[in-house]
Symmetry: C2
Subunit: 541 residues, 2 copies
């Protein structure tokens, strides 16, 4: 028997169905973003055989999970959160050494990750995610209708690709894993190669939780990989039925194409980033331009600008208010102190993109993001262009992943034509006065461009609630009907099954007439909410 | 101004945004399945320019529909149903001449189609399809939560591909069109080339309904095409945001690949058929074998076996009961009178498949489906094989689209291993006695294989209700999380949008605090159903 502390000891290993595995001698390390130096521990590239073993074990675990009551799935999610807390500062230090995001941000990210796991546990306990529907037999209908009952069930083993910028909340123990487990699907995670130690520690946390609730060992596996091969093997593994991904457009699209090109295509839910436009009106700037600039800079520089919801383009009115806003932002950015970027490739890529942007005709470099002397450091950047330059140069619509933004000054009456050039995105934000004239046309235009509209706020920070939608039209995601944050994220990893004329005793408990699990159900077209404990009547707010 | 009767006069035309259009001189005709003779009227292949015009007009119509209240969308759906009835016997005669499905079946199919349109109108009036969710601001949460409200919105113009086997219910005025319009999405239909006249008449019915409710002319267009080019242009049209398809595996997969391979991928919801296995237990056969055989033959020969839910494989216990069942089915099939098949390609294809099946070692031809002397006629077929032959020969798992079935005799204890060989399908059926021992393992196995499980019934006939699920794992469909029948079919053509901290007056009416549209909503995690007219309290069943 291994002890708890042994189990949580990072050794540089793939974790396949609860076992350490290092078949390949091909190893890689993390790099400290503050110094650029390689880490001490080497991690083994997973082999195709190891990926296949993980997928096999996940398929076996699926059969076990199918028979589990919801409370046990919820228990697993809660146990992961508890172990993630119990592992203490060790996790924060390790993640900080691999990402340089800083202990405060990482502690906050862990709190968010644990809250997310517990929120999904509550959803599973409530049974809301089954979307149970009952239509009783109707012999009067033409033709007569049978008894039909339908619920969401797990789609099968899910591959999870960790993101560089959220080593916890969008990586191994993050939203995709929580969604998959909540749906009853085992997971196989590919750790992000920028933070392999964090990935391994988090996978060990999940395995410790799995042991607590006596889950099958295949319920979660971790494979390491620096190149494309491991991820490709994983997406092509026959047992894998869906993929969750957060990361770059290039990698996301490549995985989507692989999933769609399989002999049996599978959905690849790739969240690939966004420019997150912010529209500020003249009146809003007149009333509180400095305050908006402060909020904008805080949102744009959070995590060194490496948020998929980082606001990257501001559309401001031409004239004094717009120029003053640019001045406020520039002043704040010049004194901003940022941590280094997550890895060398991101740092290099941003540097090249900044140089290219500065060279576009009509673009003024207001603040230049010089590279730092050590590690992957870079200062914030601010560019300015007028609406014509923005329309003429499609490169200006591209996301800068990092602390860089563009202010587009727009003549009166030209806003719609200008922002209609935008690609699909995750969010769009409006800063306006509450009593400004009708902005319904602007709202409709932004609805066509984004998944979440923010009023007088900033898009960074995506609350984990039922109503959240963290998604949007391509190229923000490959599946605009789905979200990777919030309770409905579970739906990505489910498929419905309908039961026609089944005897009550042979139905899954979720669909039996007496509602023994006390879950919300749509019965003959009307919602019947769950009964609060100890009552018999439906609660109405 | 055209009169109503002129409007409903089939002339052999594409209908682009309310106009007749015949740009190409390339024409084709329908064929009478009873004689094999070509029809009199020629239909023009749509050109790429015509397809582009239809898609453009649909995109313009989308902006208009976005501003429509639900009642007006519902009015359009109801008007289509009314015109479909008003057009009377002309539609039945025309459809019968092109499909040979017979007036009775076609009248029934029209009734189903109209009921489906009206059911979706009710759903739209209730507002259920918006899946409205409200999470109020929570300043106590860590971090504090904003006010978040989310609803489903139209995904954009939808391409609809009509099916050969349901010229009404799964074609121009069928479930895909009804779902798209219910979601608020304009549609562009590609008519099935086997029934171009029916397609045109139905499109004219939809345009007449659109005129009734003053819908924009681009709300619905019809393009004709015999080859692949028209469908390909349609799926690749930039304005098209989703595709609904019912038809063959080959065509469905080709369209799915096209949609996934676009620069901006779009979902292609292709429903491609299924073998629809039926498992009969020894006790069920002993108790009512003849009755099961009668039900099976009726289901298997409905529409000359050309249903996507036709039961194609029966797993029966080895021994006397199974043999007796085969005898009953054979006797009934020998005296069955079937209409001809839908078109020459289907008829030829089935003939080749029957010959190949008869030649597989271990397969016994119990009833041979000889071709008829005139038109696309063929007699029903029945094959028998033991479990070993079924496992050894993957060809036996393929769908026969037509009146042909296979009975697999299975030794005791070998059922799971045998049916685990099945591909994903739309349905799976069990005939067993209500007091038979636990069949939970069988249920779980079938859940992994199908979208709808039927108890002591037959899979043909898919009721249009909330709980229906007409879908299933690949290769039955390209999107196992979705259904093409029932209220949740609308979800295929929607994407959610979330609103963060919006002032109440700037929210869509569906999400305003006072619920002015009286729709069901999930508020802070609890379902609040719509208020019945004239009441103020939430109704609880």
């Amino acid at each position: 028997m291994t002890t708890h502390s042994q189990l949580l000891n990072v050794t540089g290993a793939n974790l396949i169905a609860g076992r350490e595995s290092r078949e390949s001698s091909d190893r890689f390390t993390a790099f400290d973003p503050r110094t650029g130096d390689p880490g001490e521990l080497a991690f083994p590239e997973a082999t195709p055989a190891e990926v296949a073993q993980a997928a096999d074990a996940a398929a076996e675990a699926l059969d076990v999970l199918r028979a589990w009551p919801a409370a046990r799935i919820a228990g697993l999610l809660r146990a992961i959160a508890a172990h993630l807390e119990d592992v203490g500062d060790a996790l924060i230090h390790l993640a900080d050494s691999e990402t340089a995001l800083g202990p405060e941000r990482l502690a906050g990210e862990r709190a968010r990750t644990c809250a997310q796991l517990r929120a999904f546990a509550s959803v599973v306990e409530d049974g809301w995610h089954h979307e149970a529907i009952i239509d009783h037999r109707d012999p009067q209908a033409t033709p007569p209708r049978p008894d039909l009952r339908r619920m969401q069930t797990p789609i099968g083993p899910v591959a999870v690709f960790g993101a560089s910028n959220f080593p916890l909340a969008f990586s191994v123990p993050g939203g995709d894993t929580a969604s998959a487990l909540a749906a009853g699907c085992p997971g196989v995670a590919k750790g992000h190669p920028s933070h392999p130690g964090t990935s391994e520690l988090c996978a060990r946390v999940i395995l410790a939780a799995a042991e607590d609730v006596a889950a099958p060992s295949g319920v979660f596996s971790l494979v390491h990989g620096r190149g494309h091969e491991v991820g490709q093997s994983l997406v092509l593994a026959p047992q894998i039925r869906a993929v969750g991904f957060t990361g770059s457009y290039r990698a996301g699209r490549a995985l989507f194409d692989l999933g769609a090109g399989r002999q049996d295509p599978i959905p690849v839910y790739a969240e690939m980033g966004s420019v997150n436009p912010v529209i500020v009106t003249r009146r809003a700037l007149a009333a509180r331009g400095e305050q908006i600039a402060e909020g904008f800079v805080a949102s744009m520089t959070a995590g060194a600008g490496q948020f998929c919801t980082k606001p990257g383009i501001v559309f401001a009115p031409e004239g004094d208010e717009g120029l003053e806003f640019v001045g406020h932002v520039a002043r704040l950015l010049r004194s901003a102190e940022l941590g280094p970027m997550l890895n060398e490739a991101i740092w290099q890529g941003l540097g090249e993109q900044l140089a290219a942007t500065a060279g576009i005709p009509g673009v003024e470099t207001v603040v230049w993001g010089a590279r730092g002397a050590q590690g992957f450091r870079i200062a914030p950047s601010l560019f300015k262009a007028d609406a014509k330059a923005f329309v003429d140069h499609p490169q200006l619509r591209a996301e800068h992943f990092g602390p860089s933004a563009l202010v587009v000054t727009v003549p009166d009456g030209a806003l719609s034509d200008t922002i209609s050039q935008l690609d699909g995105g995750l969010t769009a934000t409006v800063h306006a006065e509450d009593d400004e004239a009708d902005l319904a046309d602007l709202r409709r235009l932004l609805e066509a461009k984004a998944g979440r509209l923010v009023w007088n706020g900033f898009p960074t920070g995506a609350a984990v609630t039922f109503a959240q939608h963290h998604g949007g039209p391509y190229p923000a995601t490959t599946a605009p009907a789905h979200t990777s944050v919030g309770a409905t994220a579970i739906r990505r990893f489910q498929r419905p099954i309908a039961y026609q004329d089944f005897p009550d005793s042979r139905l899954p408990a979720e669909l039996r007439e007496s509602n023994p699990l006390n879950i919300p159900r749509l019965v003959d077209g009307r919602w019947v909410d769950r009964q609060p404990p100890g009552t018999r009547k439906t609660e109405s707010p």
